[in-house]
């Protein structure tokens, strides 16, 4: 079949036989129809939005002509099902960006669920982009979000289902350029043989530079090698095939290629309005609401947290911009809920004002507000009360560790008093359930710290009971949720391995045996998946052989607990001569090159080492958004400022 021909007639007869056909039908409100919009003025009710698929304008589909060669076409994949991917805020931003860029269009791609993959493979139907229903293989760019480590096998499944060779070296100009971006791109090596290029850091600016350069190279009929070299000149773009291993470190093959790739960061994030006309899905998706990003970055400095390092510095949007965006966004979508997202939303310097104004604006409309990340103190509860109204469903707090000593080691700057105050206030205000989130296997952890989890939970539970009226004590619920720590690149804990599997099991037993009140439920994140994450997330190029092998053995949807199969991973590791335990538990020395040394998030290795030393000395560090600079290096290295309330901090 032709690469530009719609596969819709081929898939349509099967759609009543697969689960949730609405995943595959496109036509959602605010989806682009295939012809580019002229401008974007952030209001969905103007004539500029003629290409929106809406009834009044187009009973037959508005006409995109996929065979139009002059148009640059990008297909963006979120490597999971529609329900997970359609909720992703990054895809929504990039989709709008390219669709409003002159001469370009972008379409969405999700990995079909297993039943649909079977149908497609049986009937030779290639992976297609939703808007035009044309094969991904016919696009200029296949952009793939790298959201987490366990998405690796889904990425290979998607590339292969598209009929594209999975390895970069086997692809030619006949194939789309396969490009990755997102958090996992900060250690791209395990996926490096499958990608032609990675974009490191925030995508809003680099993506369009990439698209323009790629388009120019195609117009000039450059060879793939010339084209990749040209793309490598863009700040923040990493072309893995231009680097080779030399004395355990990755070095450029040529002097003209940068030795270090700096992440891209949006300096004027405060001036960049959020997407207020996102696609409104028909299917019920994971985050089925309007999403407005309050701020980017978090400098609390938790030493285990990769997001807290790679998204620095903190840049807030102003309260006015946020209120305006919520109003526009709700009018343009019809959602009944808005989520104010960021790594730490209650840390926004104007959060109280924002919530009060929104509360007033939305009162009586049946539209709810949600604030996903709960700050662990009394202020956090005040803010939660502002958004919850009558609907006090549940709160999540993350003390992360059971004792103050270990919380100091990981620089989680909350105290037991913070937690107890928050719990008391929440239960007194009417909440009847909360979840406490902890990790085990953190560096420096002892059995006392593990028992400390149970003891802390018991005291929090007692405080909760004491805070509710007599007759309601039976309704008090608390869940303790525990995950195994996975060390990540670009963090102060990047050098040390995960604890051994047997030790994980022993520590879990220690916690299970610790006395916890019977009203507290204990739940676990599967340690087997955490071990695979640990094995891959700090690995080098060698890990791509493992990923390819495990995918060939049938692994996909590894992030779905019912689909994850540890045995497949073990067998695959045996087949390629790797040892998953050794990979997960690997310790790097401070002097040794790290597989991600050529990728910089702006935070210096020296700072990370210093933070690691401070953790050993059980010393905490401050948050530079509120306190003095602790010289992580981001602002100076990348020439960017902290911005609070939309203004540069003095």
């Amino acid at each position: 079949m032709k690469k530009t021909e719609s596969v819709w007639p081929l898939i349509e007869p099967h759609l009543t036989k697969v689960e949730r056909p609405s995943r595959y039908i496109n036509h959602e409100y605010n989806a682009y129809s295939g012809s580019p919009r002229q401008t974007n003025d952030h209001s969905c009710h103007t004539d500029n939005h003629l290409s929106h698929t809406r009834d009044s304008l187009c009973h037959s589909r508005a006409g995109g002509n996929p065979s139009e060669h002059s148009r640059y076409r990008a297909a963006f994949l979120y490597p999971d099902t529609y329900e997970i991917g359609q909720s992703n805020a990054a895809i929504a931003i990039l989709y709008q960006l390219v669709n409003t860029h002159e001469g370009c269009s972008a379409e969405r791609v999700f990995l079909p669920w297993l039943d649909m993959i079977d149908v497609m493979r049986k009937h030779d139907i290639p992976l297609f982009a939703l808007e035009s229903a044309t094969p991904v293989a016919g696009f200029d760019m296949f952009g793939i979000t790298l959201p987490h480590t366990l998405a690796a096998t889904n990425i290979l499944e998607a590339i292969d289902l598209a009929g594209i060779p999975i390895k970069s070296c086997d692809r030619t100009l006949e194939h789309p350029l396969v490009v990755g971006g997102g958090p996992e791109a900060f250690n791209p090596e395990p996926l490096s043989s499958f990608f032609d290029a990675f974009m490191i850091g925030e995508g809003e600016e680099v993506l369009l530079e990439f698209v323009d350069t790629h388009r120019r190279c195609l117009d000039q009929r450059m060879s793939k090698a010339e084209l990749l070299l040209e793309l490598s000149k863009i700040e923040g773009v990493y072309i893995p095939s231009l680097y080779k291993l030399d004395h355990n470190a990755l070095r450029p093959k040529d002097e003209s290629i940068p030795t270090r790739i700096n992440k891209r960061v949006i300096k004027d994030f405060d001036k960049l309005p959020p997407v207020t006309d996102p696609i409104v899905p028909f299917a019920e998706v994971a985050h089925d609401r309007l999403t407005i990003e309050l701020l980017r970055g978090c400098t609390r400095g938790c030493r285990f947290c990769q997001a807290g390092m790679i998204y620095r510095p903190v840049r807030e949007r102003s309260a006015d911009m946020i209120i305006d965006s919520v109003a526009r966004g709700l009018a343009c979508t019809g959602f009944d809920e808005v989520s104010l997202v960021s790594l730490s939303s209650t840390d926004h310097s104007q959060i109280e004002q924002i919530l009060k104004r929104l509360h007033r604006m939305l009162s009586g409309t049946g539209v709810g507000i949600s604030l996903p990340s709960q700050r662990l103190d009394a202020f956090g509860i005040d803010m939660a009360r502002l958004v919850a109204g009558e609907k006090k469903t549940g709160l999540t707090f993350a003390p992360e560790a059971g004792t103050q000593r270990l919380r100091d080691i990981i620089n989680k700057n909350v105290t037991e008093k913070n937690l107890i105050d928050a719990v008391e206030q929440a239960y007194a205000a009417g909440w009847r359930r909360c979840k406490l989130y902890f990790m085990i296997g953190l560096p420096g952890e002892t059995d006392e710290d593990i028992i400390g989890i149970a003891e802390l939970a018991n005291r929090a539970y007692a405080a909760a009971k004491d805070s509710v009226p007599d007759g309601q004590r039976g309704n008090v619920r608390m869940t303790v949720s525990v995950a195994v720590f996975v060390p990540k690149s670009h963090t102060p804990f990047q050098w040390g391995g995960q604890i051994a599997r047997e030790e994980i099991d022993r520590r879990i037993t220690v916690l299970r045996n610790a006395k916890m009140h019977k009203g507290i439920d204990l739940s676990w994140h599967d340690p087997a998946t955490s071990r695979i994450e640990a094995a891959i997330s700090r690995a080098g190029r060698e890990a791509s052989t493992l990923i390819e092998e495990v995918w060939r053995q049938g692994a996909k949807f590894d992030a779905w607990s019912e689909r994850f199969n540890e045995l497949l991973w073990e067998n695959a590791a045996d087949a390629v001569g790797l040892d998953i335990s050794a990979m997960a538990e690997r310790n790097y020395s401070i002097e040794e090159p790290l597989p991600w040394d050529h990728i910089s998030c702006g935070v210096s290795k020296k700072f990370l080492a210093k933070e690691y030393d401070r953790s050993l000395a059980i010393e905490t560090s401050t948050d530079c958004s509120f306190d003095r600079c602790i010289a992580c290096g981001v602002c100076t290295d990348l020439d960017v400022d902290i911005k609070l309330g939309g203004e540069s901090r003095a």
Binding site: R54, G334, G366
Partner: protein, 231 residues
């Protein structure tokens, strides 16, 4: 919050790809259209504040509807013409707004009143169909209906439908010619009636009559009309 004073009845079509929406997905899509249209919808009181509305009888996944209804309660009067214009501007491809009218706020629900359903099913087979085939299908359908009941097993639970009351008039089976390629198809017209026990899915009725081994393929199912005794 003012008392809901008005009840708007929206008449619409669900067709094309949106025939693949589930009932729940359609309801959510309608809610979002109403919010985008900025109609003065009433909000329920209580723990989970939500828009006050009542959808019509569910359409099975994959079935289009040409005369569907959705009720929503409002707190202010807006002329039906204005409501229709706003709904049309806020709608999606595949939900076509036909008309709106105000109905008494205390009227019985659509699912209780709109019990008469007319369906059209188009079936095809490789190599085409002929009059003999149509006649045979007619016989099979009438034989099944004559038994008086349809047993449907779903998730190991059996449900028995009373066909005497569910099938209002004898099915009409005919040959139709495709508009584009001129191929012949079978058209089955069914007049069904829903009850407290739910409504018979026309697809189940026809597939039961034809048998699982039948090489006939369903090309489309459309609920062409939905009405009440008062209509």
């Amino acid at each position: 919050m003012p008392d809901p004073l008005f009840r708007l009845r929206i008449n619409f079509q669900k067709h094309d790809r949106l025939s693949l929406l589930s009932h729940l997905e359609l309801v959510r899509a309608m809610e979002r259209i109403i919010r985008r249209a900025q109609l003065p919808y009433a909000v329920s009181q209580g723990f989970n504040a939500h828009m006050r509305h009542a959808p019509g009888p569910a359409l099975p996944v994959g079935t289009s509807g040409l005369n569907e209804f959705f009720d929503v309660w409002t707190t202010e009067y807006v002329t039906p013409k204005e409501v229709l214009a706003r709904l049309r501007a806020a709608s999606v491809v595949g939900v076509r707004m036909l008309g709106v009218k105000y109905v008494p706020a205390n009227l019985r629900g659509l699912q209780a009143t709109h019990v008469h359903e007319e369906y059209e099913m188009v079936l095809s087979i490789a190599g085409g169909v002929d009059e003999t085939m149509a006649a045979k299908i007619n016989t099979l359908l009438n034989d099944l209906i004559a038994t008086g009941e349809l047993k449907v097993v779903r998730k190991k639970k059996a449900k028995i439908y009373d066909l005497k009351s569910a099938v209002e008039t004898a099915p009409n089976v005919s040959l139709v010619h495709g508009a584009t390629n001129g191929e012949s198809n079978i058209m089955i017209k069914l007049n069904l009636r829903s009850s407290d026990q739910g409504s018979v899915k026309p697809e189940l009725l026809v597939m039961e009559a034809l048998g699982n081994e039948s090489p006939l393929m369903i090309k489309s199912i459309t609920r062409t009309n939905l009405y009440s005794d008062e209509d």
